[in-house]
């Protein structure tokens, strides 16, 4: 297997693992909602970010596990492979299709990968070009966003600096947002907010909570993955979940603070949205983007195939009104996380290509050969019968 094949396999495995994990997450969310459980948003966000890190690291974990299998540190019986499982089910009669069709189904991914990597005319070349074009487009978009953000930060006025956190004032920012460089964190506040001291305090609390939660780093991580996952709908589901939870977690933390009046905070969000929309109209197309590598107080821009900013704001206010959210004990959280981690690891492991020929695969191959032999013998018999009767063989 060439290096290209290996890299492409890891790429496909990552996409499958992300899809399966997203489905597990959505199922868990559905079940929790069904039983009326209101789990703390910070716990949910930590969980979601942790699972994403596990997805990204899953190829490494699989490589280590397979190395341990080869070195016989882990017994061969503990090897998990979906293709091997399917073959054993086929041999037991659990799958009722002709052996040759089953073999062809098993080799589908390999054939597709080969046709993409060799740019074979038709489907293979089409998919390869789409993947390449998407990668280049989203990577370029990410680069442009970083540059735009850099330019915007350069036009801001420094307000205060405390350690690595820099508070900046901007005339062009639609709403407050948090960004970061390699070492510094930047909280950008629309300069008009200086004239509203009460709102300014609440907005600062919210944005500094983003800094504490490390939301910008996760946002950058997710955006850097977009060129790889751009065609995967589950990536967008995942991103939307992270965006929703990080705002809700920040809102919750600010609202929990003893000095914050819940009504005042909701009104502050509403005023910030109104000011953002007003400014959006004023700054049509010019200098209004806060860039990708940033986390905004709220959305005021409509996005394709996404909930409107008004709907999102409404949900945030509704979520704020639900108090007494459950913060489970870390032991209970671990117990809930463990099956999810197991699913990620098992998914990543089971979709790997089998290392070599197993007994079952040899058996399947023998069945295919026997079927072929039988077909050939049947055709010869027909030919003989036809010649005996002086007729042309039936086709």
């Amino acid at each position: 297997m060439t290096l290209h094949n290996q890299i492409f396999d890891i790429y496909i495995d990552l996409n499958i693992t992300l899809a399966i994990t997203a489905m597990v997450w959505l199922s868990a969310k559905f079940l929790l909602a069904r039983f009326g459980n209101k789990v703390d948003f910070s716990v949910q966000l930590t969980l979601l970010n942790g699972l994403f890190a596990l997805i990204v690291l899953s190829p490494l974990a699989v490589a280590v596990y397979q190395h341990m299998l080869v070195r016989e540190v882990v017994p061969a019986a503990l090897s998990v492979n979906l293709a091997d499982y399917a073959v054993s089910q086929y041999l037991r009669g659990g799958i009722a299709i002709p052996a040759e069709d089953f073999q062809s189904l098993l080799g589908l991914r390999m054939r597709l990968s080969d046709s993409i990597l060799t740019l074979s005319p038709g489907l293979g070349a089409g998919i390869a070009l789409t993947l390449l074009a998407g990668f280049v487009y989203y990577a370029a978009k990410l680069g442009v966003s970083f540059m735009k953000l850099h330019r915007m930060l350069a036009t801001c006025h420094t307000w205060h600096s405390n350690g690595r956190v820099h508070l900046l004032l901007s005339d062009h920012a639609l709403v407050a947002f948090t960004a970061r460089g390699l070492r510094r964190h930047y909280v950008v506040i629309p300069s008009d907010l200086l004239a509203q001291p009460e709102d300014l305090k609440l907005v600062l609390k919210h944005e500094l909570q983003h800094v504490r939660q490390g939301d910008v780093a996760w946002e950058i991580g997710l955006e850097m993955m977009r060129p790889l996952f751009f065609w995967n709908p589950f990536f967008y589901v995942w991103k939307s979940e992270v965006e929703r939870l990080r705002e809700l977690a920040c809102d919750q933390k600010v609202a929990e603070s003893a000095h914050v009046d819940l009504r005042a905070y909701c009104m502050c969000l509403l005023r910030a949205a109104q000011a953002g929309l007003r400014k959006r109209k004023e700054l049509t197309g010019r200098d209004r983007s806060s860039g990708i590598a940033a986390v905004a107080l709220l959305e005021v821009q409509d996005k394709l195939l996404r909930r409107s900013p008004a709907q999102k704001l409404r949900r945030r206010v509704e979520a704020l009104l639900v108090t007494n959210r459950i913060r489970p004990h870390w032991g209970v959280t671990c117990l809930a996380v463990l099956p999810m981690v197991a699913v990620i690891f098992l998914t990543a492991l089971s979709i790997q290509k089998p290392p070599d020929w197993s007994q079952d695969r040899l058996m399947l191959s023998a069945i295919i050969n026997l079927e072929r032999l039988q077909t050939r013998n049947g055709a010869q018999e027909q030919l003989q019968i036809a010649s005996n009767f002086g007729q042309r063989p039936l086709r």
């Binding site: 036009t155 006025h157 004032l169 300069s191 200086l194």
Partner: protein, 131 residues
């Protein structure tokens, strides 16, 4: 010396501060704060920040008198009005001031006196141009 950041226009709050400074001629942060309506409840530090930004943008000059900064406008109200109108005319009226004036006349209920004043202004301008 602090680096100046060029920005041709003022935000709403900055304009409010500049309006007071134009009236005062020059003044400290406390002077400007005293001119603002009491319901604004602005913190001294916020006002000082706004004045610092105006200094960075090049709208005001500052000098130190003891421990206090005294600010004075670098451009007149008329100059800023012209700049803003030119910007409005360029952006919204495709650089044709006549359309801007036409919209003004249409939108505002101008009294006979206002119209007479405008007419006199145009006549004066025409005479000046002829000489």
């Amino acid at each position: 010396m602090r680096k100046r950041k060029s920005n041709e226009f003022l935000t709403e709050v900055e304009l409010e501060f500049m309006t007071e400074l134009w009236k005062l001629g020059e003044g400290s942060v406390r002077d400007i704060l005293a001119c603002l309506p009491p319901e604004r409840k602005l913190a001294y530090t916020s006002c000082a920040t706004i004045m610092r930004i105006l200094d960075e943008k090049g709208f005001v000059d500052s000098r130190k008198e003891g421990k206090t900064f005294i600010y004075s406008p670098r451009l007149t109200r008329d100059t800023y009005q012209s700049r803003s109108l030119r910007n409005l005319s360029d952006k919204l009226f495709d650089g044709t001031p006549a359309s801007l004036v036409a919209r003004l006349v249409d939108e505002y209920e101008l009294s006979e006196g206002d119209l007479e004043e405008i007419r006199a202004l145009l006549d004066r301008r025409r005479t000046d141009d002829a000489t």
